[in-house]
Subunit: 353 residues, 2 copies
């Protein structure tokens, strides 16, 4: 009768089955599962009993076709090897689950264009999209938003045209870099170096800009600069160049903890330097390993929990009203002074920025 393919995947239990068992209509079953719908309590009870007996749960795919709400949030994430991202993803997934949303994960390339794959994700009709990867173009983000699909950039901002047209949540990259720059200058360093990430990444650019501004305020400037590009290989090479320089740096500020840790390994192992006696190192993020005694890394801690909370807040607002104006949220973190740097904590921060 039902000329099924040879698969034995048994036909799923539907609302009709429950209706038959409970002695009601399919509509009644649907209403019983809809909070606030008008059903007699006795009817709902009968339906729920039947549903429990049959193991019925409404099919969310079918529901989303009619409600135009999938309950899924597309998340694009590139560099899962940088500890801070799994930490964010974990938090995001748990907090979204608490609100009844699920994550459709989209692995973005580390470099290059991710837009085609991104378009594929949209075919699943996510209720919103979180972009925590640099490889999805700002242009696409702007386009999504124009089409009424909420987009939140997490730990990045949009550069270029349309910059203010899409929402973002970031740590205080500029302020953090600035605070570090000021402290470094005040601590008496003379040859500060910046270990940059990818040059098109807002995180790296903003941290560098803040760092340079902070140094400049105290009459210092970046002595050396090299690109680690947020990956291990380039970071190692960059550190080799910096430390092989005829006039090597006395401190290195890395655009991420992940790079700072690789930098420390190179300094210690390949150049026999003591940290912080011979070289001070500072990172950014407060990745879990930064606190491990072996690294004991001075770093500007990003407020991950707050960032995720803000992301979800924006998400919910924009889902509720797609016309709500985009917002750029910048959340202050705090500097954590650890043993990898000779720095005093006397500085009182820089509220001015």
């Amino acid at each position: 009768m039902s000329g099924k393919r040879r698969e034995t995947r048994r036909r799923a239990i539907t609302a009709h089955d429950v209706a038959a068992m409970a002695g009601g209509s399919q509509s009644a079953v649907s209403r019983s599962f809809t909070p606030g719908a008008s059903v007699a309590p006795t009817t709902r009870a009968r339906v729920m009993d039947a549903a429990a007996a049959l193991g019925y749960r409404p099919n969310l795919i079918a529901r989303s076709l009619i409600t135009r709400r999938s309950g899924m949030i597309g998340v694009a994430m590139g560099n899962l090897h940088n500890q801070i991202y799994p930490v964010m993803l974990d938090r995001l997934a748990r907090d979204l689950a608490a609100q009844g949303y699920s994550i459709l994960l989209f692995p973005a390339p580390l470099d290059g264009e991710a837009d085609p794959e991104m378009a594929q994700i949209m075919r699943y009709q996510p209720d919103a999209v979180v972009l925590a990867a640099t490889s999805v173009s700002s242009a696409l983000a702007v386009e999504c938003r124009a089409a009424g699909l909420p987009v939140i950039l997490l730990n990045r901002t949009s550069l270029g045209p349309g910059i203010a047209q899409v929402s973002s949540v970031t740590g205080a990259n500029m302020a953090g870099g600035h605070e570090i720059g000021v402290l470094v200058a005040e601590a008496g360093f003379h040859r500060p170096a910046f270990l940059a990430g990818l040059d098109h990444a807002s995180t790296s650019l903003e941290r560098e800009a803040g760092f340079r501004a902070g140094l400049a305020e105290r009459g210092l400037s970046v002595h050396l600069r090299a690109n680690g590009n947020f990956n291990e290989r380039d970071t190692r090479a960059a550190m080799f160049r910096l430390l092989s320089h005829r006039d090597p740096p006395d401190m290195v500020f890395a655009a991420s903890d992940q790079m700072a840790m690789v930098a420390m390994d190179v300094a210690r192992t390949e150049f026999g330097l003591r940290v912080p006696q011979d070289l001070s190192l500072i990172g950014f993020d407060d990745a879990p390993a930064a606190a491990w005694p072996t690294y004991n890394l001075t770093t500007y801690a990003q407020p991950v929990a707050d960032m995720v909370a803000a992301t979800i807040g924006l998400l919910m607002d924009e889902i509720a009203d797609p016309t709500s104006p985009p917002r750029q949220i910048v959340l202050r973190g705090h500097l954590i002074l650890r043993g990898s740097s000779r720095l005093s904590s006397t500085h009182d921060g820089c509220e001015a920025l």
Copy 2:
């Protein structure tokens, strides 16, 4: 006319719109997007032109309702703080994407029961489920499989009843532990300790069993044992207990690299021990940080790429034919001798196991 709610989310472009523009039926549009469907090349060309002009892409939610294939794979993952899991997830996501599948991510609790949340995921009708967390019960896995939903356990096996009813992919935990046990005994250690993970986790149990067997073959046994439970706090406490013992271990084999690294930090920082002169440390996984010079950790490398490939292979087989018998795949890795342990590499492996 179309009494939309106040949201301005503009009506999506559908196959009807494309049909109207291309001058054909909605069926023709659908066929044009279905590889191998019978459409005249000229018709398909007209449709594709119109689709491109309108920016149309078939709605996968609607498609999956009728095809009963969602193209989504549910992935339950618990401990994203253990580096090996993000690495696996990244690989899994990229390899699945290459086959046209997307990941619906489900953050499993680190301990306790994840079954209710798991049931929620199933409402999205995933084509299969990958469980890489210990908190989803084997009972649920068996149940899914009975219902025709393919389930693959990744980096864990099913314990208890129904053990052979669900597919799994693991590294050679037993063989790896065994190889380490034999080498440790041959290297002349006298007081080996085992730093265990969660006692209900198959990974920890199998690695321990192998280790004990290897030691026993050479007339040695585990001198001390403590539970780190795969988290930092318990691991630190466990190491304090082991190293404070009146007769402390001369080597520690940890059930994961993540624990081994915490153990190394405690040994060095809190007890002033030199590694490996005063204490040898061995881990399991070959997490990225294990190779970093600071840790330079001897470890049994899990073949992550192979494990992911095998998982996808099983997935595809079981999706194609849900009646195909479950398989348990165990993939050999290899021991990587690094500086954290005094071990010789003369041992020739243990093919017998």
